[in-house]
């Protein structure tokens, strides 16, 4: 990142992308649960990183800064999608902004879709919490810094998310 801040060169950007594009794209998908939206979020995140590279002071971990931008951008996209869906419902028009259902990827099968459906039923806050802690394996304190909440709140959100997911995925946990 420091290299990119200094030189803004194509080589530096390439290195930045190589290191972080997968992490950003994966985090985005796990929050928005839609491939096309995740792609949009990823592009927007790196556009912001490029535009605001000078504002990163290096006082915190770069990954925390990057993840925070990703989480906020993903939430904004979800909010926009909800507004668009409500407008489509009110106008009784065929929704041109289709609800992006969780898509199956490499492994087709009931389980993958079931997990995606369960995740989609969590609120954005709870989903973000479980993604940052259980999937990204971040400590609660760092996850809280990314999500913009207290550590106690993060613990509570993770607890709530786990409770809901266990209910929704009960059959798979018992087997």
């Amino acid at each position: 990142m420091t290299n990119f801040q200094t030189t803004k060169s194509a080589v530096a950007l390439d290195e930045l992308l190589t290191r972080h594009i997968d992490a950003v794209r994966n985090l985005a998908y796990r929050i928005v649960l839609c491939n096309s939206t995740a792609d949009d979020v990823t592009q927007e995140v790196f556009a912001k990183v490029i535009d605001h590279a000078a504002s990163f002071r290096g006082t915190a971990k770069f990954s925390t800064w990057l993840y925070r931008i990703t989480v906020n951008t993903a939430k904004e996209h979800l909010r926009q999608r909800r507004i668009t869906l409500e407008i489509a419902e009110h106008s009784d028009a065929i929704a041109s902004a289709e609800y992006c259902r969780p898509e199956q990827r490499v492994m087709d099968g009931e389980l993958t879709e079931r997990i995606a459906d369960a995740m989609s039923q969590l609120s954005t806050k709870l989903r973000t919490a479980i993604v940052l802690t259980s999937i990204e394996q971040l400590p609660a304190k760092e996850a809280a810094a990314i999500a913009g909440c207290s550590t106690a709140t993060m613990h509570w959100r993770v607890h709530q998310a786990r409770k809901q997911l266990k209910k929704l995925l009960y059959g798979y946990l018992m087997s």
């Binding site: 990823t42 535009d51 909440c149």
Partner: protein
């Protein structure tokens, strides 16, 4: 058992994450897209100024187009929301009504939307004298008060406290009048997790977390089981307008109708003295 389920859940989520991770083709397509929108990247000296201007203009055209579309969508959304606020039948939040005929009330009487009652404020001030900045939250059940303490909090620029009132009403099948069954008022700093131990008869604490937002709104996460045997548990994550009371759930038990209402308010730090 619980630990084993937690581990199984973690494994499921981890497997799902692996299987839905970014593929090579998607990664390369994203790279190209990011390079296209990036005009901060240093260009080779041979690129003419005219083509640089075209790149910058096309990017601004895209950004301007996206911004205009976003603003239009937001304005439309605000218009729809405003319409629903004017017309109660258009959906959205419930508005309670107080009928003149008290013999059969459609809804409970309005809560005191001024949650920041004087006595609650006084309670806070008294406990603050004892515990100082360690005082994290306070819960008034009417007949007794509970408090939560934490490590001293670094004062942020906004020290407003969030007041939340929860009231459970029941309606008699005999006269149809609403009666207050259970009431709880909570005062807490923003984003302070409130966990009030349960009364006897229930095993789960009440948990509330609130965060003030702009435009007279507050975000509230709530986990609450009324103090009634067999009552359901309410898990809510919602936006609450300040000064309004909102029905957040209802249930029926033994032929009696119950409704749970919530109201929220802010106490500016200056009023605490």
């Amino acid at each position: 058992m619980k630990r084993s389920q937690d581990e199984q859940l973690d494994r499921l989520l981890s497997d799902w994450a692996s299987k839905t991770a970014t593929g090579k083709a998607a990664r390369e397509a994203l790279r190209k897209a990011i390079y296209r929108v990036s005009d901060e990247v240093e260009t080779p000296p041979v690129v003419e100024l005219a083509s640089l201007w075209q790149q910058r203009r096309s990017r601004w055209r895209v950004v301007t187009g996206i911004t205009a579309a976003t603003v239009a969508v937001l304005l439309l959304g605000v218009g729809m929301w405003y319409r629903s606020e004017l017309d109660p039948t258009a959906g959205g939040g419930r508005k309670s009504m107080t009928l003149v005929d008290q013999s059969r009330q459609a809804s409970p009487p309005p809560l005191n939307a001024d949650v920041s009652a004087d006595h609650l404020r006084r309670l806070w001030q008294e406990h603050y004298r004892l515990f100082g900045a360690r005082l994290s939250w306070l819960a008034d059940r009417g007949d007794h008060t509970e408090i939560g303490l934490s490590e001293p909090v670094i004062q942020s620029s906004s020290n407003d406290l969030v007041g939340i009132e929860l009231v459970l009403w029941s309606r008699s099948t005999v006269d149809g009048k609403w009666q207050k069954v259970q009431a709880l008022r909570v005062l807490a700093g923003p984003e302070h997790l409130v966990q009030v131990p349960s009364d006897e008869g229930t095993s789960e604490p009440l948990a509330i977390w609130a965060y003030p937002l702009d435009e007279e709104m507050v975000s509230i996460d709530l986990s609450f089981r009324p103090n009634l045997p067999g009552a359901p548990k309410f898990n809510q994550s919602m936006l609450q307008r300040l000064g309004e009371h909102t029905q957040i759930g209802d249930f029926e038990k033994d032929g009696i109708e119950y409704r749970l209402y919530q109201a929220a308010d802010l106490i500016p730090s200056g009023k605490l003295g």
